[in-house]
Amino acid sequence: MVWLKKIGSAGHTEVELPLELAILEVEKHLKLGGLAIKEDGTKIDLSEIKEDDKLLLIPRVVGGYNRDRMY
């Protein structure tokens, strides 16, 4: 099983998924421009995901500003 914690607009969601499903889930997330982060803070590629991994899925951050807020 792979533990995934996703942060984003829907709040934090935590799931434990079988390896194959977890890879699909991470792939979807990466296609949206997000990152998958290992427990040590470094990013992980799809091919590196293995059983018992704990991953944090973070959304895409870019430079610039949006209509309402400039950070």
Binding site: K5, G11, K43, I58, V61, V62, G63, D68
Partner: protein
């Protein structure tokens, strides 16, 4: 004993709406608790009356019938608070550097980055840079996301969307 100070502010984007926040010292930064999201309407009305009459002093918690621990408990159960809890966990495990004077400072690939937590600003080699998340998220989720983007995908910050 946690000291919580209350403030009435205008929130960006809602120019006519005054709301209540409270501030408390966290480890290396200021925790801003959106009180207006955490307490019931009748308690907010009590605060309105206190503010109108300029009577808001140290006993505001007593008047709304809550104590510091209850406010913190409600905060950490909220979406904002859960994001801060994760931020604290990542600091405690050494993944994110400990904030000092409201800022996380670190060097990555020879570039010095500072993230101002209180002001939610990014400085690259001392110069302020913009960043944005497409999704509306709690402040600490944005800070966590920004930190990992700088470390792992800094080119994203050159993109403007």
């Amino acid at each position: 004993m946690v000291i919580i100070e209350i403030e009435c502010i205008n929130i960006k984007g809602t120019p006519t709406e005054e709301v209540y926040i409270c501030k408390t010292k966290a480890d290396g930064y200021t925790r801003v608790i959106p009180l207006f999201k955490l307490i019931e309407r009748d308690k907010l009305i009590k605060l309105d009356i206190l503010f109108r009459d300029c009577r808001i002093k140290n006993n505001w918690l007593e008047i709304i019938g809550l104590d510091e621990e209850e406010i913190l408990k409600r905060y950490f159960e909220s979406e904002e608070g859960r994001a801060e809890k994760l931020f604290i966990e990542l600091i405690n495990t050494g993944v994110i550097p400990k904030p000092i004077n409201g800022r996380i400072s670190f060097i990555s690939r020879g570039i010095r980055y500072e993230i101002d937590i209180d002001e939610e600003k990014l400085f690259v080699n001392g110069k302020e840079r913009c960043f944005t998340c497409k999704q509306e998220m709690p402040k600490f989720d944005r800070i966590i996301s920004l930190y990992f983007t700088i470390l792992n995908s800094p080119k994203n910050l050159d993109l403007r969307e």
